[in-house]
């Protein structure tokens, strides 16, 4: 297990998540894509910490990433609920009001 290998796995995870976030039509599936991307960030940050600078303060960044993921999840579900309530739909294509 080396830094390069862990970062390679993280890159693969990020790419998979990016594919999901771009291609999916259902809001909750888009959120799943974003979650996979954040998952990759957690893995990469953990590897950086362990292989480059295992100082205790570096791990705090991982906790911040986890908190950001929680916020993303909670607000995403709230917006999905709002969308479902007002438009009876869970597709991104029905929420393109700001798109040109």
């Amino acid at each position: 297990m080396t830094l390069q290998l862990v970062l390679l796995v993280a890159a693969a995870l990020f790419a998979v998540g990016l594919y999901g976030a771009i291609s999916q039509q259902v809001v909750v599936m888009v959120m799943m894509g974003l979650e996979v991307m954040v998952n990759a960030v957690i893995l990469a940050a953990g590897a950086m910490w362990w292989f480059l600078a295992p100082d205790p303060t570096g791990q705090v960044l991982l906790l911040v990433v986890l908190a950001a993921m929680t916020v993303e999840m909670a607000m995403g579900f709230a917006v999905a609920t709002l969308l479902h309530r007002h438009r009876n739909s869970d597709m991104t294509d029905s929420a393109t009001d700001l798109a040109r």
């Binding site: 796995v9 790419a15 291609s23 991982l62 607000m75 309530r85």
Partner: protein, 187 residues
């Protein structure tokens, strides 16, 4: 040796189950595949001695995915285990972007001249993290806490069906409030 084998197994499980999320025909299975991916990443973190963050990732994501499965069933309005589905748009360009991103990030990971390790980990990494959070890094927790509270408030406001403006009017002076069913004794 054992660490290397575990890393390969967990890494392959993490990427494969993340890919399965967008392949399987069922929302429920997609949710559990994502949970598996998070669990694998959590255990890779444990392999790198980050026991606290790894276990928190596993526990948090298990709960989150359990909630997510319920949301899936609520919103999709169909049997989440039986209905084949493919709800994607512009699949080809999305695949192109994903592959290009992997090539750029992967080549960066392999070809960048990474610096050598500075310092050694504390004997008890979890205790050191706790001391950092309660000491020099406390500002992080002080900032994260109100953000979490704001998230709770924002989530409830966004998702609430009826708010006080629906009940009391735009100027909040409607008395009695407009409720679907009047409250109180003898209604």
């Amino acid at each position: 040796m054992l660490v290397d084998v575990s890393f390969w197994v967990l890494g392959i499980v993490a990427v494969a189950s993340a890919a399965l999320v967008f392949v399987v025909d069922s929302m429920a299975r997609a949710t559990y595949a994502l949970a598996l991916s998070f669990i694998a990443v959590g255990f890779v973190l444990v392999l790198m001695q980050q026991n606290y963050v790894g276990v928190v990732t596993v526990l948090m994501m298990l709960m989150e995915m359990a909630i997510m499965a319920v949301y899936m069933v609520m919103y999709m309005g169909m049997n989440p285990a039986l209905m084949p589905m493919s709800m994607v748009h512009d699949k080809r360009s999305a695949l192109g972007v994903a592959v290009a991103t992997f090539l750029v990030l992967g080549s960066g990971a392999l070809f960048v001249d990474w610096p050598v390790r500075r310092g050694v980990p504390a004997p008890d990494v979890t205790a050191a993290l706790g001391e950092a959070l309660m000491g020099p890094q406390m500002l992080v927790m002080v900032v994260v806490s109100p953000v979490m509270v704001a998230t709770i408030v924002g989530g409830v406001v966004l998702a609430a069906h009826r708010t006080r403006y629906d009940r009391f009017g735009d100027d909040l002076d409607q008395r009695p409030p407009r409720d679907p069913q009047r409250g109180g004794v003898g209604r």
